[in-house]
């Protein structure tokens, strides 16, 4: 709160200072005499930009680039002597002001978001508008004229496209297209209905004398109706994103708001030209033309967008060598699609929406993972940033005396009609739609839909674009539009949340993706298609299936890199995401514990690696190949601190055990572990982030993945065919391991912590490594995406005993308590000899451990996010590694 106050104060002060100079500034602005002004500004206070801001931006916004040329003379004026420094405000004024305003609006957002108590009640968009009022008031106070306004050019060309592109790019396609019918009905029929009914009713009231003397004809009313009819995507998104209604409801409102733009633009253009033509000129031909133009504009725009989207997909197929800028293509091409549509007078919004929608799948598959991330973030930055600016400026624009024309009847009636007809339209259309929808919309949903009809900046932009030579009451329309916008965004926005809560609208379930659900979804899809096939009906599922076949067969082939195709399956993506999450949490946990000893016992795996390295390179050379040249980064953790540290730790553990084996192990490590961090060089380069891509490293990580998978499948495997226990002792060892497996699984898992305890007996480090590794590896596991996984090799059964951690098997052999089973013997050659000493220790502690597990099982397993307090005290930190540094 304090910060908020302070910042506000600061802003006030800044503007107050500038106020002192405001009058001259304003006066000068009339002459537009920047050049002369500059020289006089030399020694004045640094806050002057704020004053000048006014005039310059105005011109800058209205005719962008205009003032650029004007101030381009590097100071201007005849030079008498060489100036050491000179004040060249006009030279930079436009970009400077643009940047400054962006900064100011973002700071507004920062202030607003600093306090969540407020944003929980009042949506951010409303607060931003209020901030706009304040800022506008300051400017007004300073300049006595509103110098900053949201002009249509700026809005439609520089602020809107990225928001819409963002919407298209992140559109949940399946949801969107499966509700397409309903959305289209709302967007087309609903909008037409709103426009016509509002226009006609206002006209009727005018005729009835409800608003006094106004110079507005029927056509102008209809024009006004058409611009005020459309639900605004920006406003809807801003409000609904914070409310979290269920996804179907959201997509209906949001989809409608996006698609009705085509309708609005057409209606607006048609009526605009009708107004120009004058009532007498309009005949059936013109009306038919209007209807045709609707289809052309809407579908042409969508088609154009799709073409651009597909072009973009094609383009990203071959950006492999310019990865550093490939993320930029979507913005450029998206923007181009918008401009092209605008140029052809098609619906630009539809074009850019469909550009985003059609390319998302392909470019996400084609581009490098990092680029995809870049796109996602950059998109959000741009969209959110300009959304903020839009709302702030909507507020600022209001503070303008010249704008306001008050006509109580007109304004109130507009508000009333908008609301009433929206409700009627929604309920009537839904009533019809529900006869066709599989899942009917409930009354509550309909209420929210009608209430969610927010108007926003698009309407305002269109209103400002009206030609005041043709429409006498333009200012009335603009101010009415502004009132409508404020009313809907602020009032309805604020009340939306309580309403949603009060009506108990189904909320979006906030839950983690689970693999099984995704798999089930897929089952559903195929099942429904099959049932439709069998029952001989052509339904949605049938169509969707046909489409996906077509898409699979042709589109993917054309637009997707062959190498990318394997990674794009949805289920697989989920799998991958979960794996990544595991890995992250694993590393986070390891770091949280303040040490990286969880990888200390790596040598346990070395043997594994060695073994598989040899074995699998024969069995499946393609994996190795795949691994070696896999482009995908193995997630930062794979390469970062872990390996380099591990070398040392590792070594020293062993060292503690037995001197003689040190050399062995060192040798082993050197052979099989990738090299440490020293090789990890950053070069300065504009086009590359060079990272260590040591082949060995990749391979090593892969091996570990294999290992973990193998282990984690054990329990599952058990379900099918429990491996025979070979010896008493082994059995004992083996079973305690089970739960740990299980939790690893669960883990899919977040917590490495607890399962560790399950067998962190004695040496908790070892516990870490087991689960930890499994986590770590899952990441990489996907790297091998389509490859065969040794864990599932047919000889899995044979490998079952492998699940007994090597050291355990080894231990038994070693301690001589039990005769080694045949399987154990089979494994013998691969087990590391250098771990022998550790083994007995584990065995001895095992029993206590299982007790502990019995004691506190639930909490451990259940809290996925928080790690339960360790049952065993954390292991003593390993002796300082530098002691053995010499061996490295």
């Amino acid at each position: 709160m304090a910060t908020m106050q302070r910042t506000r104060l600061l802003l006030c002060v800044m503007l107050m200072v500038s106020q002192g100079r405001s009058l001259p500034g304003a006066a000068r602005s009339e002459h537009n005499g920047h050049e002369t002004e500059t020289s006089s500004d030399h020694g004045t206070s640094s806050s002057s930009p704020h004053t000048e801001t006014g005039d310059v931006t105005d011109s800058g916004h209205d005719v962008t680039g205009d003032s650029h040329g004007e101030g381009g003379g590097h100071g201007g004026g005849p030079i008498t002597t060489l100036p050491i420094v000179s004040w060249k405000w006009s030279h930079v004024s436009v970009p400077y002001l643009v940047a400054l305003w962006i900064l100011v609006s973002w700071i507004c957002k920062l202030i607003i978001e600093a306090n969540h108590h407020v944003t929980n009640i009042i949506p951010e968009s409303a607060l931003l508008i209020c901030f706009g009022f304040i800022l506008g008031g300051m400017i007004w106070g300073a300049d006595k004229v509103q110098t900053f306004k949201l002009t249509p050019t700026v809005f439609f060309f520089y602020l809107l496209p990225q928001i819409i592109l963002d919407a298209g790019y992140f559109m949940p396609n399946k949801l969107f297209f499966s509700n397409m019918g309903t959305i289209l009905v709302y967007a087309i029929i609903g909008t037409c209905w709103n426009a016509a009914s509002v226009g006609l009713s206002l006209w009727g009231c005018h005729m009835g004398g409800a608003m006094g003397d106004l110079d507005i004809g029927l056509l102008q009313y209809l024009l006004f109706g058409s611009l005020i009819a459309a639900v605004d995507p920006v406003a809807v998104l801003a409000v609904f994103e914070q409310v979290h209604v269920n996804e179907v409801l959201f997509i209906l409102v949001f989809g409608e708001s996006l698609l009705n733009d085509g309708v609005t633009v057409v209606l607006f253009n048609v009526f605009d030209s009708f107004v120009s033509l004058g009532g007498s000129q309009i005949d059936a031909v013109e009306i038919i033309k209007g209807i045709i133009s609707f289809f052309v504009v809407a579908f042409g725009g969508s088609l154009l967008g799709m073409v651009f989207g597909l072009l973009l997909s094609l383009l990203t197929r071959c950006t492999k060598n310019i990865q550093i800028i490939e993320a930029g293509f979507i913005f450029v091409l998206g923007y181009l699609s918008y401009l092209t549509a605008e140029m052809l007078s098609l619906s630009a919004i539809l074009a850019i929406v469909f550009c985003g929608v059609s390319c998302q799948k392909y470019i996400n598959a084609n581009m490098d993972e990092k680029s995809v991330t870049t796109v996602r973030y950059a998109m959000k930055v741009l969209a959110n940033g300009s959304e903020t600016i839009i709302f702030v400026f909507l507020g600022i624009s209001a503070v303008d005396k010249t704008l306001w024309v008050w006509n109580t009847g007109f304004i109130l009636l507009t508000l009333l009609f908008i609301f009433v007809y929206r409700v009627i339209g929604v309920f009537f259309l839904t009533w019809i739609m529900n006869k066709f929808r599989l899942v009917p919309l409930e009354v509550i949903d309909q209420i929210i839909m009608s209430y969610g009809g927010l108007r926003g900046a698009v309407a305002y932009g269109l209103a400002v674009m009206l030609d005041d030579s043709k429409i006498k009451e333009k200012n009335l329309m603009v101010s009415t539009t502004l009132i409508v916008v404020y009313f809907t965004v602020i009032l309805q926005g604020v009340t939306m949340k309580p309403l949603v809560t009060w009506l108990k609208v189904k909320r979006a379930a906030v839950c983690d993706i689970t693999l099984i659900e995704k798999v089930q979804n897929k089952v559903f899809d195929h099942m429904l298609v099959a049932i439709e096939d069998i029952s001989g009906q052509i339904g949605h599922n049938y169509m969707r299936d046909k489409w996906s076949h077509f898409e699979e067969k042709w589109m993917s082939g054309i637009f997707m890199k062959p190498s990318a195709r394997k990674n794009r399956d949805y289920v697989f993506n989920v799998f991958h995401k979960l794996n990544l999450k595991d890995a992250m949490s694993y590393v986070a946990e390891g770091e949280r514990r303040g040490s990286l000893e969880f990888i200390r016992n790596e040598s346990a795996f070395v043997d594994f690696k060695k073994k598989y390295g040899e074995k699998f390179s024969e069995v499946m050379p393609d994996i190795m190949a795949d691994m070696a040249d896999d482009r995908h980064p193995v997630s930062p953790m794979g390469r970062d601190p872990v390996p380099s540290v591990s070398l040392e730790m590792h070594e020293q553990t062993i060292k503690g055990v037995r001197e003689a084996e040190d050399i062995n192990s060192h040798h082993l490590l050197q052979q099989h572990l990738y090299k440490g961090r020293k090789q990890h060089r950053h070069r300065y380069s504009r086009s590359h982030f060079e990272v260590n891509k040591d082949e060995n490293e990749v391979q090593e990580i892969f091996q570990r993945t294999m290992r973990s998978r193998l282990e984690s499948f054990k329990s599952a495997k058990m379900g099918v065919a429990p491996p025979k226990t070979i010896t008493k002792h082994q059995k004992k060892d083996q079973q305690p391991k089970m739960p740990s497996r299980k939790s690893t699984d669960k883990s899919k898992s977040y917590h490495s912590g607890d399962e560790d305890f399950e067998f962190s007996e004695g040496d908790s480090a070892s516990g870490y490594e087991a689960s930890g590794d499994s986590l770590a590896m899952r990441v990489t596991y996907r790297v091998g995406a389509g490859i065969e996984n040794p864990a599932f090799m047919p000889e899995l059964d044979y490998m079952a005993p492998m699940q007994i951690p090597p050291w355990l098997a080894e231990a038994e052999l070693d301690s001589g308590m039990v005769a080694p089973s045949q399987r154990a013997q089979v494994r013998l050659p691969w087990t590391p000899s250098n771990l022998r000493r550790l083994a007995p220790l584990r065995i001895s502690t095992r029993s206590t451990d299982s007790f502990m597990r019995a004691d506190a099982p639930t909490t451990q397993e259940r809290d996925e996010d928080e790690f339960p307090p360790p049952l065993t005290p954390p292991p003593p930190p390993p002796p300082p590694s530098d002691r053995h540094g010499g061996h490295m």
């Binding site: 499966s178 599989l438 899942v439 379930a509 839950c511 689970t514 693999l515 099984i516 659900e517 798999v519 979804n521 897929k522 089952v523 559903f524 195929h526 099942m527 429904l528 298609v529 099959a530 049932i531 069998i534 029952s535 001989g536 052509i538 699979e552 195709r565 394997k566 990674n567 399956d569 697989f572 799998f575 979960l578 998978r709 984690s712 499948f713 329990s715 599952a716 495997k717 379900g719 099918v720 429990p722 079973q735 305690p736 089970m738 739960p739 299980k742 699984d745 669960k746 899919k748 898992s749 596991y781 389509g786 065969e788 996984n789 864990a791 599932f792 019995a854 099982p857 397993e861 259940r862």
Partner: protein, 234 residues
């Protein structure tokens, strides 16, 4: 003369037959919840599939061309012949051939619920649908989906989606299974192992899944089968 007399008789017979059929339909409608119109359509399709016979066999369904690409073809067809899907929970096993009634009963799993159904009915319907799904996975009918069974479904499911390898499919199946195990049996005794997914667990894991749109098919009152006659095997 005989022929003259035969006609009304025949007519009567026909009428009777129609009457019988209508009665039959109504009974089926009562059992399955379809409207008689829908049943008529489905019956038509049934005859089309079976080649105008009283019963339908696996081979009939197998030969539907549209099914050829469906990765779950086998499971779906099996589901039709599964006794458990006849809304009587106690029977296990599969039939060789099914009649119209069985056919309809299986189809009725996919019927959207009546528009104004209570919460309880909705829950029951959901349960039935889940049960159907569960039965589809549980091929041996022992009430538990073992890993092997589950894996099989997932593999087949993913096998058609191109690049996903066999092994990856297996890995996914395993990971999913582990997920189930961890959700349902987070604290097992050390000696236990997770045998497989029971129906209760199955319900538990799919708790969050919205079934309304996912397991419903609009059965039209209007006959669309003619539109695809060319494709149908008969």
């Amino acid at each position: 003369m005989g022929s003259w007399q035969a006609r009304p008789e025949q007519q009567q017979q026909q009428q009777q037959q129609q009457e019988q059929e209508r009665w039959h339909y109504e009974e089926l409608a009562h059992k399955s919840g379809f409207s008689t119109e829908q049943i008529k359509n489905l019956h038509k399709r049934f005859r089309q599939l079976s080649g105008n016979k009283e019963t339908i066999s696996r081979a009939n369904l197998d030969s539907i061309p549209a099914l050829a690409n469906n990765p779950l073809k086998k499971q779906i067809i099996d589901a039709f012949f599964d006794k458990r899907n006849q809304w009587q929970d106690d029977e296990v096993g599969s039939l060789e051939e099914i009649g119209l009634e069985h056919f309809l009963m299986v189809m009725s799993h996919f019927r959207p619920p009546a528009h104004k159904s209570g919460e309880e009915e909705r829950q029951a319907a959901r349960r039935q649908k889940l049960r159907f799904l569960f039965n589809m996975h549980d091929t041996d009918g022992d009430g538990i989906i073992t890993l092997a069974e589950y894996r099989k479904v997932v593999e087949e499911l993913l096998s058609k989606s191109g690049a996903i390898g066999h092994q990856t499919a297996k890995a996914i199946a395993d990971a999913a299974m582990l997920e189930v195990a961890s959700i349902n049996a987070p604290h097992m005794a050390p000696d236990d192992f997770y045998e497989g997914i029971t129906f209760e667990h199955f319900q538990q894991i799919l708790k969050g899944l919205e079934m309304e749109s996912r397991m419903h098919i609009r059965f039209l009152d209007v006959d669309t089968t003619t539109m695809r006659c060319g494709k149908a095997p008969s």
